[in-house]
Every structure is written in C-alpha cells, then in structure tokens.
C-alpha cells in the first residue's frame, strides 16, 4: 500500500470536515450570550486545532508543527482555570 497517497486522501477528507467544524465553533465563539460560552467554544477550538496540527505535522513532515500542539492544549486549560478563579474568587493570582 502506498502510504503517502492514501494519507493524502484521508487528510483531504478530514481537512474539509475540520474546517467546517472550526467555522461552526467560531460562530458560537462570536455570538455566545455569556462569557462562559465563548470560553467553552474557544476551548473546543484549541483542542481540535491541536489535534489537527498533529495530523498536519505528519503530512508536512515537520516535527516543529506538532510540538506546538502541547502548548496549545495547555493554553486552553489555563483559560478555563483562570476564568473559574476570576468568577468565583474575584481575582487571579498565582
């Protein structure tokens, strides 16, 4: 089996669906009624973008693209924790 050609087909299918999903997440992130909805949508967007960056890193044969995914996932987690701390305790401190 020619891995490169099959993986190109897989990536072609996945990229279309991922892009459509990113657009829908972005609509919710723009029009969310409360700040928590925006945080939730940006959270999903970041995790899925991290996953998509790993897949793209395999296609472009670049390990630098894939190692940015760890930072992106941790950043989304930081966003959740800081929002919780700000809402419940009124201040953000380390």
């Amino acid at each position: 089996m020619n891995f490169e050609a099959v993986f190109l087909d897989v990536l072609y299918f996945a990229a279309v669906i991922y892009t459509l999903a990113f657009v829908l997440y972005g609509v919710r992130a723009i029009k969310g009624p409360t700040t928590a909805d925006i945080i939730l949508a940006v959270d999903c967007l970041s995790f899925d973008m991290a996953a998509f960056m790993v897949v793209l890193g395999i296609y472009f044969k670049s390990i630098m693209l894939a190692s940015g995914a760890i930072i992106l996932a941790l950043w989304a987690f930081m966003l959740d924790i800081y929002y919780t701390k700000y809402v419940l305790y009124g201040e953000v401190e380390v």
Partner: protein
Amino acid sequence: MIIEDIIFVIGSVAILIGAIYDLIAAIGLLRFNDFYMRTHAATVGTIGGAVLPVFGAGLVALVYHPLGSQRFFMAGIAFTVGVLILIIAPTGSHSLVSAVYFGRVGKKPPLVVDQLEEDLPKREDVAELVREHEELPGEEEEPKFTFRRLVR
C-alpha cells in the same frame, strides 16, 4: 508488511471518525440552547474529536516511512498530546461548569430538580458575612470563599 498496513488503516479510520465527531460536536454547540447542554456537546468534541484523531495520528506516524527516523519522535508527541488532552479537557469542563453554577453567570435554565441549590449560600448571608468582615479594623485576612457576583 501486513502489520504496518493494519496499523495504518486503524490510524486512518480513527482520524476520519474523529473528524466526524468534531462536526457533530460543532453542530451541537451551535444549536443547543443552554449552557449545560452545550457543555455536553463540547465534551463530545474534545474527547471524540481531539483525543481519538491524535491517537490515530500517532499510530499513522509509527508506520509512515516518508518521515524517516523522525517518525518515532512524531508518534511520541502525538501520544503525549493525546494523554494530556484526555486529562485536561474533563478537568477544564468541570471547572467551567462549576464557575457558571456557583457564580450564577447568565440565566439559569429551567430544571426539573436541582438538589445543589440548597447548598448554595443565600444572597443575604453572603452580603452579611462580607459586611461583618469589612467592619473589622486592621484585619488583613480575606474571607475564604467569596462570591464576587453576589457581593454587590
């Protein structure tokens, strides 16, 4: 080899299923009409739509020979990101939901039964507690648990 073909097919199918999960979660996040149900859709999107494709990408990277000897490094990164998201995403969703519930952000949806409500501090109690605290002169210590939105 046949083993490599099987691993590649399993990884590709995981990526495709993850993409479909992601689209379903995005439609749910857009169309559900209160925050807690949107949280349900969002967890589908993070576990099914991010962890599954990342593990699939790791399996594909293990047998993807155009990467050369960097493919083990790529597979290691993919499995690390997968385990990280598997731990991080439920923790973040729980903390976000608890912030929305206890901080009373937004409008509360119509619930059939809400057994947590009697554990919530009443608005008057919190206001009185904060007032008592503020009258003490020279006291530097902050109250342990203040609801910022209830105080005003």
